[in-house]
């Protein structure tokens, strides 16, 4: 492939949306109320739509006959480059919201920078996605506040979720070697520069929600290099079931 770095870079961005979209989609029919159920699946739909734009572009760059579906459905676990945060399970609604919130704040800042990319297609996709993601962040931060500042139980559960998920936040700002190449070419986003503002924004909102900002400095990473938590395999077996069972099937 002529431009393997760019291809991998796009997959890195898209896999976050794909895996998070799948997680939110799992709530379809299982949301705590009809409205939140619809909201979570709406967010899932937005994310999948974004993934399609990225994968269609990646398919073009690959220059062979692989399609967006091949890229989404036919890779192995180690070939997915999403961050560990987005693959964490829907332990309870507070975890789903906490995961969404911790990703949304990053996602919005990331897309805002991606709009400045020298790659015009990525720029156009970012332009489109950022409008949708600004609604996501409104939804998730609203719920963090509602649960954090809610009853004793909702506050405890929200705090537990934030504490547990916190360990996956630092990876968002970790650069792989391929990322560095893309940044030097003016295509990629230098995520290390987003870190300070991210923790500032997240801390501000946790404070608003009457929650404690976790102090733990112990962080996990690996997703960007394909080293995942045990949860991704189960998620993929769900996601890929149809294509694995009936290869090449189409709707």
């Amino acid at each position: 492939m002529k431009n393997e770095n760019l291809y991998n870079y796009i997959l890195g961005i898209a896999d976050n949306s794909l895996v998070l979209g799948q997680r939110m989609g799992e709530l379809c029919g299982h949301g705590p109320s009809l409205e939140t159920d619809i909201a979570c699946t709406n967010i899932s739909l937005d994310l999948f739509g974004q993934v399609r734009s990225y994968f269609q572009y990646a398919g073009k760059i690959a220059g062979d006959d692989r399609t967006e579906d091949d890229i989404a459905m036919l890779r192995k676990e180690r070939e997915y480059r999403n961050v560990l945060l987005v693959e964490q399970p829907n332990t309870n609604f507070a975890y789903s919201i906490g995961r969404q919130f911790l990703f949304d704040v990053y996602h919005l800042a990331f897309l805002s920078e991606l709009q400045k990319s020298k790659d015009l297609t990525l720029c156009a996709i970012a332009n489109k996605c950022i409008k949708e993601v600004s609604y996501h962040v409104r939804f998730s931060s609203d719920w963090v506040k509602r649960l954090g500042d809610g009853t004793e139980e909702s506050s405890r559960k929200m705090q537990e979720a934030i504490n547990d998920l916190w360990t996956y936040t630092d990876e968002l700002f970790h650069q792989t070697e391929a990322d560095k190449v893309m940044v030097s070419e003016g295509i990629g986003v230098d995520v290390t520069k987003l870190k300070e503002n991210y923790y500032k924004q997240v801390s501000y909102l946790l404070d608003e929600a009457d929650l404690q900002v976790p102090e733990s400095k112990w962080f996990q990473k690996g997703g960007k290099e394909g080293i995942h938590t045990e949860h991704l395999g189960f998620l993929l077996s769900d996601l890929q079931y149809m294509q694995r069972t009936y290869p090449n099937m189409e709707w």
Binding site: E35, T36, I38, A39, N42, I43, L45, D46, L47, F48, G49, Q50, R52, S53, L120, T121, C123, A124, I125, N127, K128, C129, K131, E132, Y135, R138, F139, D142
Partner: protein
Amino acid sequence: MTATEQNINDKLISILEQVSDPEIPVLSIMDMGVVRSAVIIDNIVKVEITPTYSGCPAMDVIGDDIKMALKHAGYESEIDLILHPAWTTDWITPKGRKALEDYGIAAPLDAEADKDVLLNEKRIVKCTNCGSQNTRLVSQFGSTACKAQFQCDDCQEPFDYFKCLK
């Protein structure tokens, strides 16, 4: 970019106006502003459409419907999905906004007012049933990606609000 910068062949306008959004049948895709260009090159119509939301499942259907409408009018066509410039609710025509309201979907407010509405700070989305301003946001996400759910506290009618996208 504004809607006036669309590049649409005059001969094709009336054909494209017959194609409606499958989720909002009262709204033609022309009033929706999703058709960005339609030109005839070597007897083939090239149409460029832009999605309202990335994941909008209606886009594939809209593409097929355009092809079908053009075929009935005797044209072969190719549909291209373009992302840039990104669609905005500003491209909905005044006729389209009226059609939305008549259909029971509140039309998008401008961006700032929309933000206030969705943060539930102001109640300025008028009920499409009774016209009351005593309404409240039920959820930022509605029956389709482009809508939010509202309820009127006077007539109790639930209704959709077409979210502002800029």
